[in-house]
């Protein structure tokens, strides 16, 4: 069985976000440090949550990217992170 904790690492990413007049935000695209960028197809839900895999907390966006569901965390200090897969 895959050990989720050791298989993931916290990676801070650049995020393009629309901040709406009602105070909510809609992340559109995440960009990794190496330049790879991914369009966010859909935001399924937002809630405050802790990341059990890589540690830390924040507003957790459950997003769909290229048909796959993943979490994007807003630490509310200007920094966003994802639970990225560890390179083998």
């Amino acid at each position: 069985m895959e050990n989720a904790t050791s298989a993931r690492k916290k990676v801070y990413v650049t995020v393009n976000v629309d901040h709406r007049p009602d105070g909510t935000a809609r992340p559109n695209r995440i960009i990794f440090e190496n330049g790879r960028s991914y369009e966010i197809d859909r935001v399924k839900s937002v809630r405050r949550a802790a990341s059990t895999k890589v540690g830390g907390t924040g507003l957790r966006y459950t997003v769909r990217i290229c048909g796959k569901e993943t979490f994007l965390f807003d630490e509310e200090n200007g920094k966003w992170f994802v639970e990225a897969k560890q390179e083998a």
């Binding site: 405050r48 802790a50 890589v54 540690g55 830390g56 907390t57």
Partner: protein, 412 residues
């Protein structure tokens, strides 16, 4: 009248849990958060469950903890993170009631007697426990009872991540067999006094004649008797309540011993900047100054004096404190920690009797200078202007550890 429903929420091994939540690699290991030996705070501040099982205790010196638990992972404290999670946890409790009273950084009382629409005490406690775990990745122990003291006892009974209820018809069975030292405000000295008279448990304390306890322990004896009998009527402080200010002080443990008067003056002057600022914010003025000095051998001394006139001026407070120090402190050992406090506060606008022997012109000029400094700091930041003597090493740590509000007396 129906019984109150009071929760006491205690965040388990708070500092250590935050560290493990932020760094999952620490999970399931013996971890201790320890102050820096270099900065002379080298003691265990919190430990994980595993470290606790190995015998590590809060307050142990670092080397002692490592000897008692080989392989212990020691991490330095991150006070900003603890403040952040303490605040977020409090926000969770405030979803259910505005009667939320912090008791240190990791404990809170919450009175949910009037929150029936959100569930009974047990249901609300369960929601809080679950939300803290899901949203912050931290566990809490919650005690539910009809008094603050019993709720606090309850939160200590089952740990971690558990809820304990102590209802009116259960407290004699659940609380009375516990040692008297478990009850709030029964410290080692009081426990020793009680045990001299054969009072070892809370039940024995409850059955003792209150008049005897008053003779033995003063008013605290009566409080302890009422706590033990479930008669503690103290209320939970509203979340936005600020207690009346009786004094304004600021203290620090220095990163190295202060070896001469000049070094002591720098620390007193730096601490006084904050005291003067807070006096201005609250529109209060000091008519007395108190200085507390902890020597290198950990002995403490406190001195105080009256001021010739009321003041908000940092420089005048610092000078009065330094005069006290020069007059009263015997340099048997070097100085480790200093606290300066403005006391006998009066409203800044209150008229005062002038004295023939005081230099009011100088006092007024200093007052104007203080106001100008306050204005510059408000506009450009605290470090925009400061005394030249405060440049360079002041032997003071530079973080926000002094911002934590420590537990005080029970709110009545």
């Amino acid at each position: 009248m129906a019984d109150r429903t009071i929760l006491h929420v205690d965040m388990n091994s708070f500092y250590a849990s935050v560290e493990m939540m932020l760094n999952p690699a620490l999970r399931g290991k013996a971890v201790a958060v320890c102050g820096s030996t270099e900065e002379r705070h080298g003691i265990v501040l919190a430990k994980s469950e595993l470290a606790k099982k190995a015998g590590v205790k809060t307050g142990m010196v670092n080397w002692e903890a490592q000897r008692c638990c080989p392989g212990l992972i020691v991490v330095p404290p991150q006070y900003e993170q603890y403040l952040k999670y303490s605040k977020l946890a409090k926000e969770i409790y405030c979803r259910y009631t505005n009667l939320v009273e912090p008791y240190g950084m990791d404990e809170c009382w919450a009175d949910v007697s009037f929150s029936r629409t959100m569930g009974n005490g047990l249901e609300i406690a369960e929601k809080i426990r679950q939300a803290t775990k899901d949203e912050l990745g931290l566990t809490v122990s919650i005690g539910i009872s009809f008094t603050k003291t019993f709720a606090k006892l309850g939160s200590d009974m089952k740990k971690p991540d558990a809820i304990t209820t102590i209802a009116r018809d259960e407290y004699k069975d659940k609380v009375w067999p516990l040692p008297a030292s478990d009850i709030l405000y029964c410290g080692p000295a009081t426990t020793a006094k009680l045990s001299k008279y054969g009072i070892h448990t809370i039940g024995e304390l409850a059955k003792t004649d209150p008049a005897f306890l008053k003779r033995l322990l003063g008013v605290n004896g009566l409080s302890l008797w009422s706590y033990a009998n479930g008669l503690d009527a103290s209320r939970v402080m509203p979340q936005d309540y600020t207690s009346p200010i009786k004094s304004i002080g600021h203290g620090i443990t220095c990163v190295a011993d202060l070896e001469n008067e000049e070094e002591v003056y720098k620390v007193i002057l730096e601490l006084s900047q904050d005291v003067g600022h807070r006096l201005c914010v609250h529109q209060l003025a000091a008519t007395g100054v108190q200085l507390w000095v902890r020597a290198n051998d950990l002995s403490g001394e406190q001195f105080q004096c009256r001021l010739p006139y009321k003041t908000q001026v940092s420089m005048e407070i610092a000078n009065a404190g330094f005069e006290l120090f020069k007059r009263r402190y015997r340099w048997t050992t070097n100085v480790r920690a200093v606290t300066i406090r403005a006391i006998n506060l009066v409203p800044q606008s209150q008229p005062e009797q002038l004295s023939l022997y005081s230099d009011y012109a100088l006092h007024d000029r200093r007052g104007q200078l203080q106001l100008a400094i306050e204005d510059i700091r408000r506009r450009f930041g605290k470090m925009a202007i400061y005394n030249a003597i405060l440049m360079g090493d002041k032997k003071m740590p530079e973080d926000g550890r002094d911002l934590v509000r420590m537990p005080g007396m029970m709110y009545q």
